[in-house]
Amino acid sequence: MAVATREQAPAAADRGVWSWITTVDHKRIGIMYAVAAFIFFLVGGFEALLIRTQLAGPNGTVLSAEAYNQIFTMHGLTMVFAVIMPIAAAFQNYFVPLQIGARDVAFPRINAFAFWLFFFSALFLYTSFLFGGAPDGAWVGYAPLSTQLTEYVRMDYYSVGAQLLGVASLAGSINFIATIFTMRAPGMSLMRMPVFVWMTVVTSFLLILSLPVIGVGLWQLLFDRNFGTLFYAAQAQGDPLLWQHLFWIFGHPEVYVLILPAMGIVSEILPVMSRKPLFGYAFVVFSGIAIGFLGFGVWAHHMFTAGLGPVAEAGFGLATMLIAIPTGVKIFNWIGTTWGGRLKLTTPMLFSLGFISMFVIGGLSGVTHSIVPADTQQHDSYYIVAHFHYVLFGGAVLGYMAGAYYWFPKWTGKMLSETIGKWHFWITLIGFNLTFAPQHILGLDGMPRRTYRYDAGLGWDGWNLMSTIGSYLIAVGVLVFIWNIIRSWRNGEPAGNDPWDGRTLEWTTSSPPPVHNFDEVPVVHHVDDFWYRKYGIDEDGRAVKMPEVSGGALTVDTDTGGEDGDADAHDIHMPSPSYFPIIASAGVVILGAGLVFISSGAIGFGLLALGAIVSLWGFMGWAGEPITKEAH
């Protein structure tokens, strides 16, 4: 690809905090996403433990209702916006350019801006605990409860915090779309892209089309709370259901945003560990796209108890049933991938298989929600809590754990310990099922969610205790994972370029990859191109290892033509570091803080002014940096 920068990539200045703050390297940004997401995972997990401790027995007294409401709201917001979305972004940032054979993302500085905006916004959301309390209107923020109490800034924090996190995610998604559609290596047609890249395309589209809808809702919420508009004011015939529509038009695609990248990761790992191609690549890709499309047409199944009328409910119920079909296709194709393989039951494979198994449960309980009358019993009960944790923990989190074990060697050049990894897997799987399986029963037995206490005598005590014990077991699993990371980082087995005998382009480069990713831009001829450089097929259709060929034999550098077009890594120009993205993002978050405190007068306006100055500084400096710096 054309590399138009005039500046040499900094070689020696790669270390130190400053180099991380100013980095525009997609790999470093990916790592920062991962670290930030993991920290918030610990925070959100701690909140979960508080919740489970409170609910261990009837009429728990660990938390007051007021504290409980803030904790469960923040648990939801944290896990969705500050853990799963950014951990997906971490993998996408690091591996999408590598998998499509690109040297970077389309807009490295926008990438840095998106990360810092996410990170500062999430931190900002947590400052609410210090200034007036955390959001306490549940992560769905249903009006008119969310517009009711203007004495507290809690739901202003919610409105602005979610808005900012949305903008960060929007910027990241636009970047991925531009990257994937315009920067693929020569020969990598869309239908040769790894499934993980495909799922990134789908989630990016879901995000850019759904975030603006919740954005409008969040503005309306903020205006209702602070400026006297009447969008959700029932006394003025404002319609509280409008919020639910706007929220779930975002919220349902959001569920797929959380799970599809994990499905992509699993679709990468299964073929590698089964040593045969993904079964029905095209079916898996198209089912992912179908899930994305249908995901926009089922939002009202979150509103089956809200009084939409039977015709609308029937329509959305049927649409919800439909979405089970492409989901089922994926599961069958995954099993088809393992069938007839030589399964290497490594830790990433175990997590992937665990993903399939647990996701089947979450998927089936999801189908029961499409049975509208039955859903009126399940809705807002612990059955729902169980369902979406089977999808988001048993599904997404296990999928991302699989990804962490699979790609850790590429990040660090070291393998994570397989022995500890297997302990991690089994403890997590057992703890997870112990925590969430009983919650199905609790829900069916009438326990509503978002309740800080319950009476004895309803048959809920034992299941709740079991669930709490399970949650502590999950925490043990997380500790084992941390131990594994620390241990392996220090003295893990060296990984080499291609520890799993991989199929995709990230395994062709060193571990960790150089700043410019590839010395020579690869040329792609197949899905799983790297595999076909290593293996041929004999007359029985079995893979046969080919004699080692030097990597350059099958690649052509498309940069040839420029005067410095040879493959010498030292002549590849990468974008220069910049501190303007971090300044601009800090400015935007300060602006947001001003909006939160706008009804307290001077403080709010002061913050707005400060935010305006800082963000102007950031953006003007950004625009003023030599343009050629960004063009690469």
Binding site: M1, A2, A4, A106, F107, L170, S173, I174, N175, I177, A178, T179, F181, T182, M183, R184, P186, G187, M188, S189, L190, S204, I208, L209, S210, L211, P212, V213, G215, V216, G217, W219, Q220, F223, F227, G228, T229, L230, F231, A233, A236, Q237, G238, D239, L242, L246, I249, V523, V524, H525, H526, V556, T558, A623, I627, T628, E630, A631
Partner: protein, 200 residues
Amino acid sequence: MVSEGAVVDHDFEDTGNPIHRVRKTAMWAFLGSEAFFFGAMISTFLLYRNTIGDGPGAEIFNIPFTSASSFVLLMSSLTMVLADNSFQKGDQRQGRVWLIGTALLGTTFLAGQIFEFTEFVHEGLTISTSPFGSSFYMLTGFHGLHVAVGVLLLSMLVFFSLRGRYSPDGGMNVELVALYWHFVDIVWIVIFTVVYLLQI
């Protein structure tokens, strides 16, 4: 796309400057997102178009006046095309004239909107009068904000071009701003039709 086995995919080379292609792809993605942003606000307005409480409703609209200002905005798309055309031909001097013209037309539209808002407030329609008022001001206000951002971008283009720092490969380029500007105009046509003209 190439068939299996071809050595080089001409995916990049065929489309001219890859930087343009990257930026335009991103801009289209952004505008897709913007379309849903306005879509959600238009839906809100449609929901509340008759929820006027004790305040005034659509009868306060001055259709001839808004038609005139809509025409002004529509004309600005024409001047934007001419500006883009001049820049494509490398005639920055002529292009600047058209850019300034576009910005002035946009400013005229904004002035009209401010005048219109003032009139409506005098007639008793504020953001707190009714959900109708809230959603009307939010929709047209956010659109006005987009026009204002557009005027700012146009002014920056003129500034860069005057200082000789304009480059078609730069982040600020006429083609991208033109895309944005046309989008904002098209959104206004939808708003004008749905809010002012359609009286269901």
